[in-house]
Symmetry: C2
C-alpha cells in the first residue's frame, strides 16, 4: 500500500565530536521516505527553496518515492538546521535553525495522494498536521510525530491531534514533558489516554517502547559500535515502522511488533554514517540479515 | 551449587521524590544474597556492628543464606548509607556515607566456604576483592562488581582483578569511566580486553548488555510502572544472574543469557518497594510468571 508522509525537507549541518558535515540532505520527511522505501512506495509532501539541489530529488525518485508533492518555491531558501552532538552522541544542541520556506509551509496534497491509506505526519506543528489530516479523510492508519516545541506552544492543537490520530511517535523527554510523569511506562499510557490507539516512545540508544490498551513492551536498540551521526534516527525508525505496516497492509498487534523491530533496525543503519549515506549503501536484504541477528539476540 | 558472596551489609536511609525510609536493611551482599536465594544456597561474608538488628540475620537464614561468614563486631557500628533519588528515579545523590565497621573489613572466609565453586565479589575495593580471590583458589566462576570510586582510586589493583576474574558487572557510567569511551558497545569490549571472559554493563531502567568474545547483546529492563526505590537493583540483578548460574551449575553462553534475563527480572521486582520489601513478597513462581511475559515481550 502506498504511504504518505508530510514533513520537513532540509539541509543539515552536523558536528560530532570527531567530524562535521555542512548542508547535507536531511529533514524528517526525507529520512522517513528513504527508510520506508525499502518496504513500500512513498508519497512525499514537503517544500524547498530554489537552492535545493535537484540531485536530492532524483535520489528519492530513484527509490520508490513519489516527489510530486515536493513543492519548489522560487526565490526562497530551503529549511536549514545546524546541530552539535555531545560526546555521548545521544544529546545534542541546536546551533542554528533557519525555517526559511518551511516557515510558511501550507501543504496542499496532490489529488493523487488523497486516497493514501497509510499516513505519517512527520515534524511540523499540530496545526499543520491537522490541516493535512483534513485532506486524507479515508486514511486507515494515521500516525504523527511531535516535538517539545509543540508540546510547549501548541498544546491545545496537539490535544486535538491526539484525539484524531491512530498512533503517536515521540521521544522519551517529550513523553515526560507532555505527561509531567518521569516514569516512561506511566507516561506512555498517559499519552495513550489522550486519544491514540498506540504510543511509541523512542529512547535513542536504548531503543523504543510500545503502548496500546493491551500491550506494553520494549524493543532494545540494535547494539552498534559505529554511531557516526544520530540525526534522522527517529525519522528513520518511523519510516521503517510505517513502511513495513504499509507493505503488510495491516496493523494488527503482531504486525505492529514486527514493524517496531524493522524501525529499530533501519534506524541502527541510519546512524552509522552522516545524512542518508549509510542507508544508500544497503538493500532490503541487509535489513533482513540484521533482523535475523536481532531475533537471535532477543531469544534465549 | 553453593554460591559465595562477599560484600557490604548496610543500613540504608533512602529518600525518593515521594517517600523516605530510615535505617532499612541494605548493602550489596544482602540484596545479592536474597536475590540469589530463589535459585541456590548462598554463603554470605560480611561485617556488621552491634547495632545490627538480629532479625535481619534471621531473615536471611530463613532463606537459603548461610550467615556463618557474617561477622558481628562488638562496640562497632554497621555501615550506613544515605541517598536521595532525583525525580527520574535513575540518578541519585549520596547524602551520607559512614563506613564504620566496613572500613576495616578484612574478610577471612570460614573453612566451609573455601570450596565454593561460584563466587561473587560485590561492592568492595579491588584490593579486598583480590584478598578474597586468594582464599577461593578452586572457584570455577568468579565474577566481580566494581564502582567509580575504585576506578578512580585503585586502578592498578582493579586491572589486576580484571585479569584474574571470569566476569565483571558494572554500570554504564563506570564502563565509560574505565575505558574513556562513550559508546557502550565499544566500552564493553574494551573492558573485556582487560581480562574477563565476559562483561555485563547495567543500564538501570534501560536493562543490561552482555559482551563476550563471540557475543554482544542487550536485554531490556522489564517495563514497570512501580519504581519505588531503585536501591539494590544492580545487586539484585547480579544475585539473580549468579544464582541461576549456580543452580544450573554451568556457564555456557546459553545459560549465561538465561541468567541475564533472570537478573533483569529479579531486579524488576526489587525496585517495586523499599529495601527487600518486594522480594520478601515473592516466590520463584512469581519470577517464572514474569519470565513468561518477558519472553513474550521479546518474541515477534
Amino acid at each position: 500500500m502506498p504511504l504518505l508522509v508530510v514533513g520537513s525537507v532540509a539541509l543539515d549541518s552536523v558536528e560530532t565530536p570527531t567530524e562535521a558535515r555542512d548542508d547535507v540532505l536531511g529533514g524528517s520527511a526525507v529520512f522517513f521516505s528513504y527508510a520506508a522505501s525499502y518496504f513500500t512506495s512513498v508519497r512525499l509532501v514537503g517544500v524547498v527553496g530554489e537552492d535545493w539541489p535537484h540531485e536530492h530529488t532524483q535520489l528519492l525518485q530513484g527509490r520508490q518515492v513519489d516527489t510530486r508533492g515536493l513543492q519548489v518555491v522560487p526565490g526562497a531558501k530551503t529549511f536549514r538546521w545546524k546541530g552539535k552532538y555531545l560526546p555521548n552522541m545521544n544529546d545534542r544542541e541546536t546551533l542554528e535553525v533557519h525555517l526559511n520556506v518551511f516557515g510558511q509551509f501550507d501543504p496542499v496534497l496532490p489529488e493523487a495522494y488523497r486516497a493514501c491509506p497509510f499516513v505519517f505526519l512527520a515534524n511540523g506543528s499540530p496545526r499543520l498536521q491537522l490541516k493535512v489530516l483534513d485532506q486524507v479523510p479515508g486514511a486507515r492508519l494515521a500516525v504523527a510525530d511531535t516535538m517539545d516545541l509543540w508540546i510547549r506552544e501548541e498544546r491545545d492543537e496537539l490535544a486535538e491531534l491526539l484525539r484524531r490520530i491512530d498512533g503517536i511517535v515521540l521521544n522519551d523527554s517529550e513523553a515526560r514533558l507532555l505527561t509531567d510523569d518521569e516514569n516512561l511506562v506511566r507516561a506512555g499510557h498517559k499519552v495513550r489516554e489522550m486519544g491514540p490507539k498506540f504510543v511509541v516512545i523512542k529512547k535513542g540508544e536504548h531503543g523504543a517502547m510500545f503502548f496500546s490498551r493491551y500491550e506494553t513492551y520494549v524493543m532494545p536498540a540494535y547494539p552498534t559500535e559505529d554511531v557516526v551521526d544520530p540525526t534522522g534516527a527517529g525519522d528513520s525508525f518511523a519510516g521503517g515502522m510505517m513502511g513495513y505496516l504499509a507493505e503488510r497492509d495491516d496493523f494488527e498487534p503482531k504486525t505492529l511488533k514486527e514493524a517496531m523491530a524493522y524501525g529499530v533496525l533501519v534506524a541502527s543503519f541510519a546512524v552509522e554514517q552522516f545524512s542518508l549515506d549509510r542507508l544508500r549503501q544497503i538493500e532490503r536484504g541487509d535489513i533482513e540479515l540484521r533482523m535475523e541477528k536481532y531475533r537471535q539476540m532477543l531469544s534465549f
